[in-house]
């Protein structure tokens, strides 16, 4: 089937596998948060029940169980009870069925912890900030890091001797230490930049110059806290890949042919870049999950904090919602890379054309 269209076949095969992975991931996303013994209503009741009599606390607990869909409800809208009069807990499979149904309708449910907020609304508010913070940082960090790494590998000499240790130090800095140092030096000691927030408190979010310049100003420190470390790490990877490629026959041959340095660098770059592209795809996929550490250090809006509190509070719908979009974006990113590599890597391409498939 589709033998004469190897590329299409390749894409479809991959898509099939990814769909299967997606189904498994969605199932895990559902069951993993429910593995623990504690249930979200207990956590809420710990805070909500102070000073209540046992009877009132029980009523309240039942109300939550019903509202969160964690107990079975009869046709008359009343809780179904067992012989002892305790509400019957909804079964896992029943909840799973509901979850799949809601997912298909694009409804991720209502958060327990942020009740009565919809999970979709929480995600909608947070994701633009997360993407705005992460996408440029990851892309620029990746590009700048790779260029510098390739240069260091090719030039060696003084540039490499200075650059390499510097990149090594940068890349081994933990995000949070670096972020805190940035805050301390550039927001506290020299108050050049704001220490926290996505924009100044004195402006309203709107399509105005005042808002965008304030947002850009608040963007600087969080950006550099990720960018520099990321670029350093990428540079080191690229440098070693580059050095490896430099020793290969085709580069030597190109040098002997007397090709221009720029041309050789292009060859070098293309080949050394393959593993880096996979890395880029992975980090683009996971970026949706938010830069938790950066969000905390800069009180920056984003999805990371929402996910952390959701996990801490067994907020099932919120956890499911977050992991679902992380899953989807990781899968999409990986799928794209898979396809891209098919075109970029001559070995894969050759394999395809010979009809071996992947």
């Amino acid at each position: 089937m589709l033998k004469q269209y190897p590329t299409l076949r390749f894409v479809l095969m991959r898509a099939g596998w990814y769909f299967l992975t997606f189904l498994v991931a969605v199932t895990i996303n559902f069951f993993l948060p429910r593995l623990g013994k504690n249930n979200p209503v207990d956590i809420i009741m710990g805070k909500a029940a102070t000073g209540l009599s046992n009877e009132d606390a029980r009523k309240k607990e039942e109300k939550y169980l019903q509202e969160f869909g964690l107990a079975k409800v009869g046709k008359d809208g009343q809780l179904l009870r067992d012989a002892e009069g305790k509400p019957m807990k909804a079964g896992r499979l029943e909840q799973f069925g509901n979850y799949i149904k809601m997912c298909l309708m694009g409804d991720l449910g209502t958060s327990f912890q942020k009740y009565p907020k919809k999970v979709v609304d929480v995600i909608k508010e947070a994701v633009p900030w997360t993407i705005a913070l992460q996408l440029p940082t990851i892309l620029f960090g990746w590009i700048v890091g790779n260029i510098l790494g390739a240069l260091a590998a090719y030039r060696r000499g003084v540039f490499d001797k200075v650059f390499f240790p510097f990149a090594l130090i940068l890349s081994s800095f933990p995000f949070f230490v670096f972020g805190m140092l940035l805050v301390y030096y550039f927001a506290v000691l020299l108050p050049w930049f704001p220490a926290m927030g996505g924009y100044a408190n004195s402006v309203m979010p709107s399509f105005s110059m005042a808002f965008f310049s304030s947002a850009a100003y608040h963007y600087v420190l969080p950006f550099f806290s990720i960018f520099l470390i990321l670029a350093g790490g990428q540079a080191i990877g690229m440098r070693s890949m580059g050095i490896y490629e430099l020793g290969t026959d085709y580069i030597k041959y190109a040098k002997w042919l007397g090709l221009k340095e720029g041309k050789i660098l292009t060859y070098l770059f293309r080949n050394a870049m393959l593993p880096q592209i996979t890395g880029l795809a992975l980090s683009l996929g996971t970026m949706i999950g938010g830069a938790l550490i950066t969000e905390m250090i800069f009180s920056y809006p984003g999805l990371g904090m929402a996910m952390l509190t959701a996990i801490q509070n067994n907020d099932y719908p919120m956890i499911q919602g977050c992991t679902l979009i992380v899953t989807v974006s990781v899968l999409i990113a990986n799928f794209t890379v898979d396809i891209l590599i098919g075109f970029l890597d001559p070995r894969v391409k050759a394999g395809l054309q010979m009809g071996k498939g992947v």
Binding site: S53, D56, V144, V188
Partner: protein, 611 residues
């Protein structure tokens, strides 16, 4: 070549973006310094306060649960919806808000509603609104105010000279507790019944459906501010210049700030940084070593230690059903083994006076119930030698790894020579001040030969563990806010057997989580519950003093919990860079709370912009 040129373009682009963002930054930094741009909030008209809202706001629905409602709707915040009375924790007096306290006795609490009180849509605030909120629990089980109906049997209304007089009748059969009615009058916010009855009718009389509404667009409120804007970054409220109380309570004055902004920070350090940089005017977060921040304009109630006014008592609750914790002697030995001075200095930066034996503070409003002689006679203070002596007398032996007591503690045996289990102190992981307290306590307990360890758990395990009694010892702060019913409330939270159920199954207790004083036990001390029942109905000062004295004596002898230190109700910190006129110990016109809580709301009418 193509590849390289594309990359070049990208790099140039990146550099440009960097430049743009830096350039924009400089402009805005100047703009901010000069007091905000035209689209924003001028500094001289805007008050920045923080510490009451930690995540993005859920809802502004006043009949949602307190933990769900965002600032300034949840809790006893009076900026949008108001309570009938406010309670001044400095002098113990009730101050009028929607109503005035007329009298209280064992049958009823009487208040007069202010006839001038008005909703923002021009309707008067009436007894219908009050009855609606207080009786919601009778109509809907599980309503947020359902707890009130156990205390109030009926609300009687009469009109005297055009003023509505409300009598909250004490429910004699259920709780018989006028004290808690006073708590409710200063905590339960009154909502416009004409709005909510209509919402209920529109939603098929389904309270859950109404509770799901966010009520964040032009809500009908009675308070001096109304919601303007909210996001996951901050909440903005705007002054209502036609607020009824400006005339009726504040002599025609408007509150000074036109806007109040509550930024939402994710990191404790940011409160300190923002206060020091003058970007925040007041906050209520724990900041270690606050004296170092004084030079940057961060002030507190007292200029020197303890800086704050004590109000709450974090403590270790003890599971008194488990050996050896079921032995009062063992519990007393624990109380003698913990260095309270270390906890005070190291865990809470010295923000508290010295802790005394017992459950009553030796100062503030409850200071009059504290008896120093009793504390000396019946209580145990830090005394490691005494701890060892109590343990030895009770037959407990510590076994050390190498035999001598300077080596590592291995385990402990009881009188009969049985090996005792390792005891663990449950504490939510990441609550750094609590964790520090527990660390110091564990150090002392182990040094005295008791096999106790720290048990940090995720908050998702901490909350369920507390009511189920599924712990050995657990950190808790019962009766965290200062209410009219203190210190009764604290005793009730720690010692009451009213709802006593054993540990196990789905059994939960929302007070006395340590299961002290089981009514089914032969050692049951009926005196405790009798006193807890009697105190709210006592009105003579000497009777109260005697009753509290007796209760505290029992607490000290039985030691069902280990109070570790005193902490303020709120860490009230402020900066006078943009606004001046904050209350302090030198000018105590309002209690040390942020200006939206209870009697401290009046701070807003006393502030003046610096520029």
């Amino acid at each position: 070549m193509k590849c390289v040129s594309v990359l070049k373009k990208l790099v140039v682009g990146a550099a440009l973006l960097g430049l743009v963002s830096c350039g924009g930054g400089k402009k805005d930094s100047d703009g901010e310094a000069s007091g905000g741009s035209e689209s924003g909030f001028a500094r001289s008209k805007t008050l920045y306060l923080a510490g009451s809202q930690w995540g993005d706001p859920n809802t502004f629905n006043p009949i949602a649960e307190s933990w769900q409602a965002a600032w300034p709707v949840g809790d006893k915040f009076n900026l949008m919806y108001e309570t009938i009375l406010t309670y001044n924790s400095l002098d113990g007096k009730f101050e009028p808000l929607l109503g005035t306290l007329v009298s209280r006795d064992n049958d009823k609490v009487v208040v007069d509603l202010n006839p001038k009180a008005m909703w923002s849509d021009g309707q008067p605030v009436t007894s219908t609104d009050v009855k609606f909120v207080f009786e919601l629990g009778r109509r809907f089980p599980g309503a947020a105010t359902a707890f009130a109906i156990d205390f109030i049997s009926e609300i009687k209304v009469e009109t005297v000279d055009g003023v509505e007089r409300l009598s909250f009748m004490v429910d004699k059969t259920k709780r018989n507790n006028p004290l808690v009615i006073l708590d409710h009058l200063q905590a339960i916010r009154i909502v416009p019944s004409h709005v909510f009855e209509k919402l209920l009718a529109d939603n098929g009389n389904d309270l859950s459906a109404v509770q799901k509404l966010k009520i964040d667009k032009d809500p009908v409120v009675s308070g001096p501010y109304n919601i303007e804007h909210s996001s996951n970054e901050r909440i903005v409220i705007k002054r209502r210049d036609d607020y009824w109380g400006n005339e009726a309570i504040y002599g025609g004055k408007l509150p000074a700030p036109e806007y109040i902004i509550h930024p939402i920070y994710k990191n404790n350090d940011h409160f300190a940084i923002a206060l020091q940089q003058g970007k925040l005017d007041a906050s209520q977060t724990f900041m270690p070593r606050i004296w170092l921040k004084k030079k940057d304009g961060v002030s507190t109630w007292y200029d020197e230690a303890p800086y704050f006014v004590p109000g709450a008592m974090p403590m270790l609750l003890i599971n008194t059903t488990k050996a050896p914790l079921n032995d009062p002697q063992y519990r007393r030995a624990m109380a003698a083994a913990i260095s309270y001075a270390d906890i005070k200095e190291l865990a809470v930066s010295g923000y508290a006076p010295d802790v005394q034996p017992g459950l009553i503070m030796n100062q503030g409003l409850e200071g009059k119930y504290f008896n120093a002689d009793d504390a000396k006679e019946f209580g145990v203070a830090y005394d490691p030698a005494k701890a060892r002596a109590i343990l030895a007398d009770a037959g407990y032996k510590s076994v050390y790894k190498r035999g001598d007591k300077d080596s590592t503690l291995d385990y402990m045996t009881d009188k009969a020579g049985n090996k005792l289990p390792v005891l663990s102190i449950t504490v939510p992981a990441g609550w750094s001040d609590w964790e520090a307290m527990v660390q110091i306590a564990v150090k002392g307990l182990r040094a005295a030969g008791m096999d106790v360890r720290e048990g940090p758990v995720d908050a998702s395990l901490y909350w369920p563990a507390l009511p189920s009694g599924n712990f050995d010892l657990i950190m808790h702060k019962p009766a965290a806010s200062v209410t009219p019913s203190l210190p009764w409330n604290r005793f009730e939270s720690v010692m009451s057997s009213r709802n006593w159920v054993p540990v196990g199954g789905d059994n939960k207790m929302n007070e006395n989580q340590g299961r002290y004083n089981s009514p089914k036990d032969k050692g049951y001390n009926p005196k405790v519950d009798e006193l807890l029942k009697k105190i709210p109905t006592l009105d003579k000062e000497e009777d109260l003093i005697a009753a509290y004295r007796e209760l505290n004596k029992i607490f000290m002898q039985d030691q069902p919990a280990l109070p570790l230190c005193y902490l303020p109700e709120q860490f009230y910190e402020f900066s006078s860079k943009a606004w001046k006129g904050w209350p302090t110990s030198a000018n105590p016109y309002a209690p040390p709370l942020l200006p939206w809580v209870g009697a401290s709301t009046k701070i807003l009418w006393n502030l003046q912009p610096v520029k």
